[in-house]
């Protein structure tokens, strides 16, 4: 399994290069998800699995995988829809010079999504989870020259990224409650974990993470914004796979949390999201936004049914999820194809598609019929199952059933909006889309129809194993197209009729609803924008305050802060001990100290910069001599060379500057005098006090005794630098390199107009 992910990383890396050369054959990249799917099928058929690779054993991070029915249902969806989307994308973005990069992002997403649903180790799951957020950011912002796309990408990243952090915290809490980082162990402990004190906070954080990822109210707003992405991305990430990650996680954790008050909360969140999503979808005329809001509604529906928690509800939830993956991905891809053909994304501008391009239009009709829940499509079968699961639910099923029925009515009306007018009527001026633009979604729509005609097969191979893995029991619930005339069928008929009525009276309903629009403007999106704006203003304010652009202000802040803190530490720790023995002072030491002090004063008084620099050089050399006298040859040597080079650099900079045109005012000079006296006297006090402190010597002894025996070096200073504390040195030289790059870019790139090298 590790090999698969290494190969997928390699595929991500080479995609831009390979596809740039052969852009015409870009759809062939669909071989990547296809091969991964086949490999996965072979892998799970093996009787013996390779042992999990210990990534960081001391942290409990392992490359371990959990391939039960639940993970595999999602994995097949990711691979299957992946193949179709990869085929479609090359055609959709034909002629785009950055097509290779697009495929690289898409491959990255594919790999991370596959890892997410198959990971057993929760840290591994989290890493894949974040990788899907990152690839989603890259894909939404693919048209990065448009400000809307950039904003939408950022919005997605912030919302799902914050959710990801909550998820990480929650998973770690759950793991420490269970004493294991493996999901399989957590699930096996099941409901007994609920007695742990960390269970509730951990699970709430996990639910928050799942809510942001699966666009649950009040975090739903990022999903419609994400429609700035190209159509294949919307179909793949934002309807078929990524947004279902939260649902996957909740289903995965149902053995632990199912039936607790938290799962009731999940059901409530799902209900609100479902209603909000479908109701907000009705007034949309932009096809993709309409589909996005209805996806929000559908995600709410899955979440609600997972929250209800009975095996039947979970079974029905996964059935609806599969149906949704078929029809919604198909509709998104077809919306992209129609946009290509007509040049419009507005449903109102699509006309006569049936006559101008019958095959894509038939596919759209099929997919929309599944959305509406018309027999004999899979959407109908799944909806029936959901209704019966809710009718049979032991407690408070009434409100959920009513909500579900309302959602069903809206779906039916939405399906009508998407098909009745756009498909009918006289054809307009269109050019028919290419085969790869309509065949993949048509195949998806057909699969939805086939699964509806043979529900037992889909049930046996995909949904039953998944439901059993999620519920940890045998699920006594089966899918069928016709199960006798009962309350469920009556309800279904009622929902479809109400949907038809809603579509017929849509204008009047929307006019009535438009009065509520002012209230809707105070939604979570507004809160997000206000917060983001506030953070930006705060950042600008602090930057203005602190980054004046004047070197002397920076120096002032640094000196005052350092001196203040150090002084506070000296006083509060009682470290001020000035008993110093001056008797051992040698005459040459006195002369040296006097020279240094005189040079420092001279540096202040010289009216020319060059002379001041030279005087500072004398100070530095004097200090180097002190190092030499007190047995630090390494330090002295370095100091000598540094001093020489510093003077050279300063001369280099200052030589070309004009003479001082004016000196600072008297007040400024007095202020500078005060600050420098404060800093200087503090350093003096600190040095004098250090003399009196008898510190811990164990470190010194360690270095002395191990320098030669363990590190083969007699020069302890150097051994510390390159061996004992080499990581520090590595950090320091990295900083040095970055500083040099800073100088280089500040001085060099300015003259070239910022266009790069």
């Amino acid at each position: 399994m590790l090999a698969l992910f290494i190969l997928l990383s390699a595929a991500t890396a080479v995609a831009p290069v390979v596809i740039r050369r052969r852009a015409r054959y870009a759809p062939a990249w669909a071989a990547v998800p296809l091969a991964s799917g086949l490999w996965l099928a072979w892998w799970i058929s093996q009787p013996e699995r390779e042992p999990a690779w210990n990534w960081a054993a001391s942290l409990g991070v392992r490359f371990s995988f959990l391939t039960d029915g639940l993970g595999l249902l999602f994995a097949w969806l990711i691979c299957g829809i992946g193949v179709l989307v990869f085929l479609y994308a090359g055609s959709y973005l034909e002629g785009d010079p950055r097509l290779g990069r697009f495929y690289a992002y898409l491959t990255l997403f594919f790999a991370s999504m596959l890892g997410l649903v198959l990971a057993d180790n929760i840290i591994l799951l989290f890493i894949f989870w974040e990788l899907t957020s990152l690839s989603s950011f890259l894909l939404i912002g693919y048209d990065h020259h448009r400000v809307e796309a950039r904003n939408a990408a950022l919005q997605t990243l912030l919302v799902t990224g914050l959710g990801g952090l909550a998820l990480l915290a929650g998973l770690i809490l759950l793991a420490s409650a269970a004493g294991s980082y493996e999901l399989s162990v957590l699930i096996a402990r099941g409901g007994e974990l609920r007695a742990e004190p960390l269970f509730a906070p951990g699970m709430i954080l996990v639910i928050l993470g799942a809510m942001t990822k699966s666009a649950q109210f009040p975090f739903h707003f990022w999903l419609p914004s994400a429609m700035e992405a190209p159509a294949p991305v919307s179909a793949y990430l934002h309807s078929a796979t990524m947004v279902k990650a939260g649902v996957y996680l909740l289903a995965r954790l149902t053995p632990i949390g199912g039936g607790s008050w938290l799962w009731d909360l999940v059901a409530g969140v799902g209900l609100v999201t479902m209603l909000a999503g479908f109701l907000l979808a009705l007034p949309q005329r932009d096809a993709k936004r309409l589909l996005a809001f209805s996806t929000v509604g559908a995600l709410g529906m899955f979440t609600m049914m997972i929250g209800l928690g009975t095996p039947k509800a979970i079974h029905a939830s996964l059935a609806v999820l599969l149906a949704h993956a078929f029809y919604k991905a198909s509709l998104f891809l077809l919306a992209g194809a129609f946009e290509h053909a007509t040049g419009a994304r507005n449903v109102g501008e699509w006309r006569g598609l049936w006559r101008s391009m019958p095959a894509p239009a038939a596919a759209a009709a099929l997919a929309a019929a599944s959305l509406a829940g018309l027999p004999p499509l899979f959407g109908y079968v799944a909806k029936e199952k959901a209704l019966s699961a809710m009718l049979g639910h032991p407690v408070h099923a009434g409100i959920f059933l009513a909500g579900f029925a309302a959602a069903g009515v809206c779906s039916a009306a939405l399906a009508a909006i998407l098909t009745v007018r756009p498909l009918g009527g006289a054809p307009g001026d269109v050019h028919a889309p290419g085969l790869l633009l309509w065949a993949p979604p048509a195949l998806l729509a057909l699969l939805g129809a086939l699964a509806g005609l043979r529900p037992a097969a889909a049930d046996h191979w995909l949904i039953q194993p998944a439901a059993q893995a999620a519920a940890r029991t045998l699920v006594d619930s089966h899918l069928s197209l016709w199960h006798g005339f009962d309350a469920v069928v009556l309800l279904s008929i009622g929902i479809l009729l109400a949907g038809a009525v809603l579509y017929w009276r849509l204008g009047a309903v929307l006019a009535a609803a438009s009065r509520l629009r002012s209230a809707a403007s105070y939604g979570p999106l507004r809160l997000y924008e206000t917060t983001l704006g506030g953070v930006n203003r705060l950042a600008v304010g602090t930057t203005r305050l602190l980054q004046s652009g004047k070197l002397r202000n920076y120096l002032l802040i640094v000196l005052l802060t350092t001196s203040g803190l150090a002084f506070h530490a000296l006083i509060s720790r009682g470290g001020l001990d000035l008993r110093t023995d001056w008797k051992g002072l040698q005459p040459h030491e006195g002369v040296l100290a006097g020279t240094i002090a005189a040079a420092a004063v001279a540096a202040l008084l010289f009216p020319s910069r060059l002379a001041a620099v030279a005087a500072l050089g004398v100070v530095g050399l004097g200090v180097a001599v002190i190092f030499l006298l007190y047995g630090a040859p390494d330090l002295a040597m370095t100091q000598f060379v540094v001093e020489a080079l510093t003077v050279m650099l300063l001369v280099l900079v200052l030589y070309h500057l004009p003479r001082f045109s004016g000196f600072s005012s008297r007040r400024a000079r007095l202020r500078d005098l005060g600050v420098s006296l404060a800093a200087g006297s503090l350093l003096t006090l600190a040095l004098l006090s250090v003399n009196g402190i008898e510190g811990d010597t164990s470190l010194r002894e360690f270095y002395t005794s191990n320098s030669y025996t363990a590190a083969h070096g007699r020069n302890i200073v150097n051994v510390i630098l390159v061996d004992f504390r080499a990581l520090d040195t590595l950090g320091e030289i990295t900083v040095l390199a970055i500083a040099a790059l800073g100088v280089f870019s500040l001085l060099k790139l300015r003259f070239k107009g910022g266009g790069g090298r």
Binding site: M637, L645, Y655, H712, N718, L721, A726, L730, A737, F744
Partner: protein, 142 residues
Amino acid sequence: MTSLILATAARFLFPLLLLFSVFLLLRGHNLPGGGFVGGLVAAAAFALYWLAFGTRTARRALRLNPLTLIAGGLLLAAGSGCVAFLNGRPFLTGLWVRLHVPVLGEVWAGTPLIFDTGVYLLVIGVLMLVITTLAEETREQP
């Protein structure tokens, strides 16, 4: 600004200083010296050369782009830390082998020396980058 005395002295001092810097680098593990100070001395050698003959000649004497030196030094230092992975040891663990060199006899050679060489190259690169950029910058000023 060309001085005959400086130019003559620089021509003789340049190779000596470079040699000295390598000497410092190699002996650093047992006696005062090391990659950092060695790099500084080498950079001082190039700086002297630059003072005597100007930017273009100094750059030619360096042969490599300073940016390449910086990146190479950083990679070398980080890479020397990765060698430990091959032995299943943590990052930057020093690994040593006893080598038999004809003239010097038995010597210990290890990854810390490679690390120090990385530091050496990086320091030269950083200083030369700063000096040459500043030099070009000041020349372009009116």
